[in-house]
Structure formats: structure tokens, C-alpha cells
């Protein structure tokens, strides 16, 4: 015969255990899987994931993939029946394909109460998509993603050789003249390799000289302005730096070669994305530990800064079950807090929270890149965020490279590129036109 009070207590204990089990089931997020590129800032992202798992008990799997494989993995994931990834990280050149194709779920569709913290960098609005305008803008656009790294160029220079940050092109050329002594030292190195490298490298120079690719694409005017006098001035300056300050093979210099030249102490100045900063003070990789300083990209005397983002955007595929979408959303909210962003920076990541970029961390020597980057990130813009962007990039990347290696004159390169861009846009039915040849 069981004591009735014992029976009641046993039943109460069982009920409590059941409630505890149910509540734990209700609040634990589903495990998620993230597709992300291998990069110099990956260590910071991984550190954040480990912290998230420790803090929340949720599980995050990471598929760390070399850059060339990321796009196809993301495409296959979102085009299939059910995506194996709950978050996909996309280069800015790819996002329009994913937004306009309807392959990502807007973050506010997953959590209608979610708003992006105002301190978080929007990477030139590349994380929004206005379906009606078919344009990435916060003006009437939905929040489609967040940026784990807005990744703009910084001007890296040897602080032990150059006293003041080179602000203008005159400063750059003066420093180049003082320190260009090939093959031991190169005055300034830029990317010149065909395709994305030279296209991306040229953009800040183009914008800072008042140039553009198209007239007003956001408002539907796709008139090609790539062969404008401003772009010619920009290209001549770009080529001048390459030819007078760089290595003998400027047309073959990609990001890897450029970083290698800086790390080995062979380059006195270079335009490199902020993501590479972590390697500069790593004694296992760098011969210039503590010697590299950072500044915003140079501008012509008397003109303002006009940097360009080469950002990453991370979004939730449309073909993921709701519970996993919610779990992905939990991670996003966690990632964007100031505390997490601080841990991200300490782990080698590039925070997107301006509170961190301008906060106490930025006063430390280790994070001396933060202030110039914060200035850059606040004023940088996006280019090529339209569906023909990938084709246009190939054209610009080829013609600029041909100008650099001497196969074409600068005028010929810009005119040819402008005509080819016009043809691409006309074939897509855009409202386009052309400037007269230079």
C-alpha cells in the first residue's frame, strides 16, 4: 500500500519534470548551419559562434568554404527543395541575384518585431531590397540580411617610414618617391589583376574623382557614364600609382600578392580591404609587426572621401523550415549586440557596430585600424548592385586590366568598356544611353 502523500508528491515531481522538459524544448533553438567563406576574419566569426553556443546552449554548425565555392553552394542550397544552410554568407556582387530571385526570407518576415540596431553599419544599404524598385535601399526596402563584415578599403602604410597618414594623392606620390626602390621596396601597391580585383581596386579612385559607372541607376537612369572625363582623370591617377610605384607586374597583382608584399616589408603603401588587418601584427605571418598604420583611402587635394564597400551579407534562405529560420534569427540578434561585436573584434573579426568601432577598443594599439575604418564605413557606398552587375564587372575588369598592361590607351579602355556596358544594359531593356567618346 503506497502512502497517499507519497503518491501525490511523486505525481507532482513527475509533472514538474514534464513541465521542465517541455519548457526546455520550447526555448532551445533548433541547431543551425551557416555557410561562410574562409577569410582573414573567419577566426573572429568562429569565436563568436563558440561564445554563442556557450552562452545559449544552442548548436551552430559552420561550413567554412573557400571563396570560389561559396556562390555555387549558396545557389544550390536556395534552389533546392530544402536548404541545408540556415544562413548563407554572400559577397555584395551576388546579393541582387538572391534578393531579386526571391531566394532569401526578409528578416522581418521571420521576426516582425526585429529592427536593426541604429549603430549597425548597413553596408551602403546592401542588406535591404526594394522589390518594386528592384534596388537595394532602406527607403521602402525590406531588411533581407545583415552584414558580418562591411569590408571597405583602407590605406595601409609603413608608419616607421612615413610620418603622417597620406591623406591626398600628392602625399601618396611623395611617399612613393621617397621609398620606391625596386625590387627591394615598392612605393605603393594596388590590385591590378583582371576581373574583380582591378574593378574593385579602381572604384574608390573613380568615386573620389567624381566619376561613376552609371548616371542614376537607383532612379532608373542607366545612362553609361564610365567614359566621363572624371573617370579618365581617375584612371590616369590609378595607372600613375601602378606604373610609378608598384611592382613590375602590376597587371598580375591580386589581393594575395599585394598582402604578401606588405607582410614581407616590400611595400611602403597599399590599398587593402580592412579584413587583412589581422595578419599585419601576426608575428608568424608578418615581418612588419607593429609597423603598419591605417588611414582612409586618399583623395585629390580639396576633395572629400568616397570609399566603396566590398561587403558580405548574411541572410536566411527561403526554403528553410520556420523553426530553423527562428533559430537563425536568434543568432543574428545575438551577433549584432555591442557585447558580441566586441568579442568578434577581439577574435579577429571586423565589427559592424559603430559603438565598438569608435569605443574604448579603438584606443588600443592593436585596434588602431578601427577609427579610420569607422570613418570609411560611415561614408562608403555600394556600386554594381543591379542584376547586370556581374557582367558589367567582367567588362570593367578586363578593360582596366588592358589599360594597365598597355594593350589599350586609357581613353580607348574607358570608351570600349562604356560601349560594352551600354550593350549589356540595352539587351536587358534598361533605360540607357552613352556619353560621347573621350
Amino acid at each position: 500500500m503506497i502512502d497517499p502523500s507519497l503518491k501525490v508528491r511523486r505525481n507532482a515531481l513527475g509533472a514538474a519534470a514534464l513541465v521542465a522538459l517541455m519548457s526546455s524544448t520550447a526555448y532551445a533553438a533548433e541547431p543551425i548551419t551557416i555557410l561562410i567563406n574562409n577569410s582573414p576574419w573567419y577566426g573572429g566569426f568562429e569565436a563568436v559562434v563558440e561564445k554563442y553556443e556557450a552562452d545559449t546552449g544552442n548548436t551552430v554548425n559552420i561550413d567554412r568554404t573557400p571563396y570560389p565555392g561559396v556562390l555555387e553552394k549558396a545557389r544550390n542550397a536556395v534552389r533546392g527543395e530544402e536548404s541545408p544552410y540556415d544562413l548563407v554568407n554572400l559577397d555584395n556582387g551576388w546579393v541582387v541575384e538572391f534578393y531579386s530571385g526571391g531566394f532569401l526570407t526578409p528578416l522581418t518576415d521571420v521576426d516582425p518585431d526585429f529592427t536593426l540596431p541604429p549603430e549597425v553599419v548597413t553596408a551602403g544599404d546592401s542588406i535591404y531590397w526594394n522589390e518594386e524598385l528592384q534596388w537595394p535601399t532602406s527607403d521602402g526596402g525590406k531588411l533581407m540580411a545583415f552584414s558580418p563584415n562591411a569590408n571597405a578599403h583602407l590605406w595601409y602604410y609603413r608608419g616607421d617610414l612615413i610620418d603622417a597618414p597620406p591623406e591626398t594623392y600628392d602625399d601618396v606620390m611623395a611617399a612613393c618617391a621617397a621609398h620606391h626602390s625596386p625590387p627591394d621596396t615598392y612605393g605603393a601597391v594596388l590590385r591590378g589583376e583582371r576581373g574583380n580585383p582591378i574593378r574593385f581596386a579602381f572604384m574608390p579612385h573613380m568615386l573620389v574623382h567624381g566619376g561613376s559607372i552609371l548616371k542614376d541607376p537607383k532612379n532608373g537612369d542607366f545612362t553609361v557614364t564610365f567614359n566621363s572625363p572624371e573617370n579618365l582623370t581617375a584612371l590616369n591617377k590609378f595607372l600613375e600609382i601602378h606604373n610609378e610605384c608598384s611592382a613590375d607586374n602590376p597587371g598580375a597583382i591580386g589581393q594575395g600578392e599585394m598582402i604578401q608584399l606588405v607582410l614581407t616589408g616590400k611595400a611602403a603603401q597599399a590599398a587593402i580591404v580592412v579584413a587583412a588587418q589581422a595578419q599585419m601584427d601576426n608575428p608568424e605571418k608578418s615581418a612588419v609587426v607593429g609597423k603598419i598604420q591605417f588611414a582612409a583611402m586618399p583623395n585629390p587635394a580639396g576633395m572629400g572621401k568616397r570609399p566603396v564597400f566590398g561587403s558580405w551579407q548574411m541572410g536566411i534562405p527561403h526554403n528553410v523550415p520556420d523553426a530553423r529560420k527562428a533559430a537563425a534569427m536568434e543568432f543574428i540578434k545575438y551577433f549584432l549586440t555591442e557585447e558580441t561585436q566586441t568579442a568578434y573584434a577581439e577574435g579577429g573579426g571586423i565589427p559592424v557596430h559603430t559603438g565598438v568601432l569608435r569605443g574604448p577598443l579603438s584606443d588600443q594599439d592593436r585596434f588602431r585600424w578601427m577609427k579610420p575604418y569607422a570613418t570609411t564605413a560611415e561614408s562608403a557606398v555600394q556600386v554594381l548592385l543591379y542584376k547586370e552587375g556581374a557582367e558589367v564587372e567582367q567588362v570593367i575588369g578586363l578593360r582596366l586590366n588592358q589599360a594597365l598592361i598597355g594593350e589599350m590607351s586609357p581613353e580607348e579602355a574607358l570608351n570600349t568598356a562604356a560601349k560594352e556596358i551600354h550593350d549589356i544594359l540595352a539587351a536587358s531593356g534598361r533605360n540607357t544611353g552613352q556619353l560621347p567618346d573621350l
Partner: protein
């Protein structure tokens, strides 16, 4: 009833006879059907895609007819033409050099009394290294700042070379890597052929006083001709498809100096996401390879008839 039984019996015997006579055909039929399904269907789909413009909207694929647009684009596409010319140069030069070097090495090694196995094993190494590793090894070796090639040149007082960075030498640099990578394969095929030559024929020719050159021209090469042709066709088809080495070493640059067809098709298909036009380029490339093989087979047949 008996007529019916006889009729059934003769029908069954006929069927059995039919199966017996065509057993070889029937035995390979399942494999043939599978092979056709795996090759013909994708090819038909590729043909179909080449007539379309493919885009995505609301997470669905949108297909619009665009055969003439794709064709017009092809005729206007100077980069494809340049890639085709580069590919033909790559195939002709790399395959020829590999054949000559591979045959010379095979002749030399076949004369060895000792160490033949060791040489054969050593020659296998470049084939075994993954293409990605080969690309990185050679990219480092070619590096004008830190590469071993320029270090060696500097040691003997020669000026530095930038083989990958110059439009004049980028394709040549990639051909050198291809020759290094694939000559051992040609060597192995031809060495196997040389080892299979009848000894008594060679001994007889020696007794008759034939010089080494005479033996080579009148005995070895004619007997080796089928093996040489196999190696040549195999290598030239693979050379037509070259992708990894160029992708890793030059990405087709500087300019378009090392652009090849496979790499360009990849760029159009995957980087520019032009699925329809990319399919058109793939079809044209397949057609060119088929014409190349057809011409080669025809030449072979004519040469055989002439003999």
C-alpha cells in the same frame, strides 16, 4: 491441341534462338541504356538550355526563348574567339611537346637494364599530385619576388622573369606546367608499348646491320603508331578541357592572353550566371572537339589507306 503445343514450342524455340544469337547485345543493353541516360539526357538538356534565357523570380526558374539572341551574342563575342585561339595553341603546343618528350623518355628508359621500375615510379609523381596543389606550387615558383625560378636566375646573374604577369609569356608559363604535369602519362603509355615490341624483330634488324635511327624510323615508330595515337588523342582531348591550371595560375589574364574556352564558359555560366548563353558556348565547344576528333580520325583512315 497438338498443333497448339507444337506452335508454342516452336515459338519458344525461336525466342530462345533469338536470345542466344543476340546475347552479347542484350548483355550490354542495361549498361548502354544507363550510359545513354547519363550522357544523352544531359546533352539534350544542354541543347535545350542553349536556346533559352534563364532567370529566377520568386524562387522559380523562368525560361524564355532566346536562341537567336544567344547565337548573335556568340558571333559578337570576341573573348570566346580569343579563348578558342588560345585553346588551340595550348592543345597544339602542349600535346606536341608532351608527345616528343614522353616518347624520348620512354625510349631512354626502355634501354635501361636496371632501375626501370624506380624511374617509372618517380615519373608517376606529377600525375598523382592534385591539380590545386600543382597550381599553388607553380604559382609560388613563378612568383617574381619570392619564386625559386627567379632566385636561380639571379644566382647566375640573369634578369628576373615574370612569366605569369606578361601577356607574351602567360600562356607559355601555363603550357610549361601542363607539360610537367602530363608528360609522365605519355611516357607511361609509350613505355608500355615499347616493352611489348617483339624482341626477335629488334634482334633481326641488328643482325641485318640496321642503325638505331633506322630501327626507330622503320620498326619502332610504325609498330608503336597505335599507342602513339592513343596517347595523342587522349592528351589532346584533355588539353582541350584545360581549366584548373589556368584558373589557379592566371585566371585567363593578363588581359585575355591566357583565356581558354573552359575557363570562359565557367565565367559566363557561374560568375555571370548566364545559364542559357553558357550552355550555347558549351555546345559549340563540344562541337569543335567533335570536329577535331572527326578530322583526326579521317586523316588516320586516309593515312592507313595510303599505306
Amino acid at each position: 491441341m497438338a498443333d497448339q503445343l507444337n506452335h508454342n514450342k516452336s515459338w519458344l524455340e525461336g525466342l530462345w534462338d533469338l536470345l542466344d544469337r543476340h546475347f552479347k547485345l542484350l548483355a550490354v543493353l542495361p549498361a548502354a541504356i544507363l550510359l545513354l541516360a547519363l550522357t544523352v539526357y544531359p546533352l539534350l538538356e544542354l541543347f535545350h538550355m542553349s536556346t533559352l534565357k534563364i532567370s529566377f523570380s520568386n524562387a522559380e526558374m523562368v525560361r524564355e526563348p532566346a536562341f537567336w539572341d544567344n547565337l548573335t551574342k556568340l558571333f559578337d563575342d570576341w573573348i570566346y574567339r580569343r579563348a578558342l585561339v588560345n585553346t588551340l595553341i595550348f592543345v597544339a603546343v602542349s600535346t606536341s611537346v608532351e608527345m616528343v618528350l614522353g616518347f624520348a623518355l620512354a625510349l631512354a628508359v626502355s634501354e635501361l637494364v636496371r632501375g626501370r621500375g624506380l624511374v617509372r615510379t618517380a615519373m608517376l609523381l606529377p600525375i598523382l599530385i592534385p591539380p590545386v596543389a600543382i597550381g599553388n606550387i607553380w604559382r609560388l615558383m613563378y612568383n617574381p619576388e619570392f619564386g625559386v625560378i627567379n632566385s636561380l636566375l639571379a644566382m647566375v646573374g640573369l634578369p628576373a622573369l615574370d612569366l605569369l604577369g606578361s601577356t607574351q609569356t602567360a600562356l607559355l608559363a601555363v603550357i610549361i606546367v601542363d607539360v610537367w604535369h602530363w608528360t609522365p602519362l605519355v611516357f607511361l603509355i609509350l613505355l608500355a608499348g615499347l616493352e611489348a615490341l617483339p624482341d626477335e624483330l629488334m634482334e633481326a634488324s641488328s643482325i641485318d646491320g640496321a642503325s638505331y635511327i633506322q630501327k626507330l624510323v622503320y620498326i619502332i615508330i610504325p609498330l608503336m603508331w597505335p599507342a602513339i595515337m592513343v596517347a595523342f588523342i587522349f592528351r589532346s582531348i584533355v588539353a582541350f578541357k584545360v581549366f584548373d591550371q589556368i584558373f589557379l595560375l592566371t585566371s585567363g589574364g593578363p588581359g585575355t592572353s591566357s583565356e581558354v574556352v573552359s575557363l570562359y564558359v565557367y565565367k559566363v555560366f557561374f560568375q555571370q550566371n548566364q545559364l542559357g548563353y553558357g550552355a550555347m558556348l558549351a555546345i559549340i565547344t563540344i562541337a569543335i572537339v567533335c570536329v577535331y576528333l572527326g578530322t583526326f580520325a579521317l586523316m588516320q583512315r586516309r593515312m592507313a589507306r595510303a599505306k
